[in-house]
């Protein structure tokens, strides 16, 4: 807390003495479901970028969130001690979002501080994109998706001809942020609850301690090669499992975060009017709960996640993104998760009326559990500062599924987004 206050004071001093640019983004959102008001949320994100000369910039942003509904602001246990919110009330939360120095030095660039690291090419699914954790406080019905959480990291990027190198050392064991127990989008599917099938109150859920900043640090390297209309990337990430392994000891569920290694591959190519994307990740030491063990036994398995997708212009001037993602674990023993999850995604967007209106439709469909999520949104841009939106999230399918677990959370959303 003292560190955060000192950094904020430093930001104020810098902001007063150097060329700077400020923005304030935010949104006020309301949602209703069959039980009434499901979400009332105000998010304000002020950001300052300060030019310190020679291309060096300091970037500072806050995330101020207030919520008074069943959706809430999310559990706090996912944050590491050094990334804990500055204000952590039940209804009001203030987080230091990004706080870093970007230092270019010719072909090198250093970025030091709290920052988002976005790897990967497939949209919405974190196949290779496993460095920054994500907010999952509304399941997969968040915007943007993934909604990454900034972490403390030292990053170096280098450009050598057609090769880009990216090295990350992040001594910040912040993990994915889940909804609070009892909140509208707290996970209900057995796979997220050590195989338990909640018919009544859940046992207490706690997080494994993650106070070892160095031992639990995420270390990653990515090499990108660009040739003509093709990008090829290879990455290696060593860090803690950000999803958490839910283990039941008879009294409580503990979310454990063992270290794991992921080797990733990305291929992006422009085929005339279509951009194709392929992404795959192999984790040789993934861990999942064994079925029939009452949630107490964990198996170490090989996990391979692959995704293929394409972007192109569709009929009537639409933008279309279509993807197929498969997540497979090689295990001789039955697990509480399916051996293979297959999810298809389809997104169609259209801007019309001189970009004053935008229509977005998205369909996420699990071919494994035959459940899914349909998202619709109509945006009217009032001017360059305000836009109002109306939409809905329709969850359907089995309650055992990633989407179907929220089948009673189908909701209508509306609100206003703003930027100054």
């Amino acid at each position: 807390m003292r560190l955060a206050a000192a950094l904020c004071a430093l930001a104020a001093v810098l902001g007063g003495t150097a060329a700077s640019a400020q923005t304030i983004d935010g949104a006020l959102a309301l949602a209703v479901d069959e039980d009434g008001l499901a979400k009332a949320n105000l998010l304000i994100e002020p950001e300052t970028t300060i030019a310190l000369g020679s291309g060096i910039e300091a970037v500072m942003s806050l995330r101020i969130e207030a919520a008074g509904s069943r959706t809430g602001t999310g559990a706090r246990s996912g944050f590491s001690p050094i990334s804990a919110p500055l204000v952590k009330g039940d209804d009001v939360r203030i987080e230091m979002d990004e706080f870093y120095l970007a230092i270019p030095a010719g072909a090198l660039e250093f970025r030091l501080g709290k920052q988002e690291i976005a790897w990967g090419s497939i949209d919405g699914a974190r196949v290779v994109d496993t460095v920054s954790p994500a907010r999952l406080t509304e399941g997969l019905a968040r915007d943007p998706r993934p909604d990454r959480i900034a972490i403390w990291a030292a990053r170096m990027q280098a450009i050598i001809g057609r090769v880009d190198l990216d090295f990350v050392f992040a001594p910040d064991p912040t993990v994915n942020q889940l909804a609070e127990t009892g909140a509208a989008f707290f996970p209900q599917a057995p796979r997220f609850l050590a195989g338990l099938q909640p018919a009544g109150p859940l046992p207490p859920i706690i997080r494994e301690d993650r106070g070892n900043l160095i031992g639990d640090a995420t270390i990653g390297a990515r090499l990108s090669y660009r040739l003509d209309a093709t990008d090829l990337r290879v990455s290696v990430v060593r860090g803690i499992d950000q999803d958490g392994i839910p283990v039941f000891d008879g009294r409580q569920i503990e979310l454990r975060h063992p270290r794991r290694h992921t080797i990733g591959l990305e291929f992006v190519r422009q085929f005339g009017g279509v951009v194709g994307r392929l992404e795959a990740a192999w984790t040789p030491d993934a861990r999942f709960v064994v079925a029939g063990s009452m949630g107490a036994e964990v198996a170490q398995v090989d996990r391979v996640v692959g995704g293929i997708g394409a972007d192109f212009s569709g009929p009537l001037g639409t933008y279309v993104n279509v993807q197929l993602i498969a997540d497979h674990v090689a295990s001789d023993r039955p697990l509480v998760r399916p051996r293979t999850d297959v999810i298809s995604t389809l997104r169609v967007q259209k801007d019309f009326d001189d970009n004053r209106h935008a229509l977005r439709a998205e369909w996420l469909n699990s071919l494994t559990d035959t459940d899914g999520l349909v998202r619709l949104e109509l945006v009217r841009r009032i001017d360059d500062r305000f836009a109002i939106f109306l939409g809905g999230d329709i969850f359907y399918g089995s309650r055992r599924g990633i989407f179907g677990q929220f089948s009673e959370r189908t909701r209508v959303l509306s609100g206003v987004r703003f930027s100054f």
């Binding site: 970028t49 209309a229 422009q270």
Partner: protein
Amino acid sequence: MHRIALIALSAVATASLSLGAAAQGTMTGDAIARNIAERPNADPRKGTITFVMQDKGRSRTRAARMLRTETGATHRLLLAFDTPASIRGTSFLSYDHKAASKVDETWLYLPATSRTRRVPASDRADSFMGTELSYGDVKDSFIFGLADWTFSAGGRADNGRYILKGAAKSARIAREIGYGGFTAEVDPATWFPRSITFTDPAGKRLKTISVRKLEKVGASLTATDFTVTNHVTGRATVVTVSGLAKATGADDALFDPARLDRASGRMP
């Protein structure tokens, strides 16, 4: 001083026009298009580009820092948007390859997703950031893609400019670029189109680009004041470039797609 320079430029242009008319009176459409494509464009230059979108008395403004350069056979354009706040941090990068066999490449960085995406070539016809320009208009730098068009010459206008006509080479290309054809007035002194009227893929008049002012950095010309008028919607976008200057220190790293995420801060 400024007036003297203008008079001198005018005299040079007139002389060039006369010589050009004598020597090149029977130029083919392909020859005119090639001269446009081979116009000097290599000098690294920077400036601030402002788009004022006008519609029924209302206007909205977008402004971006601009960097252009040409290396080998590739023209590269980088735009980093500063205003309005809703799009601050958005960056656009294009590689326009002169070789018809190479596919042009375009990337867009959106702060909301924190990722740089390749933009499909089929999106060339889409509106660029809500303006009346398409992605293709922005990256083409007033050069007609030799792989996209079948050219023909339409003689001379009363002002001495060449009339260049183009027809999209195929229905697919017409759909991709959003245009079925065009008629342009090309200044033979600079090989810069001063007005272009496009038709849509069905042949209906779609929009007109009128160039009012050109500025030179080194040997390279940049249109620093032009208007795009959409005849279907009645809307217009006025584009101006201010502070046009030679971009010293514009190294290759600035035009690397991996560096789009903070492009504005890195620009010289």
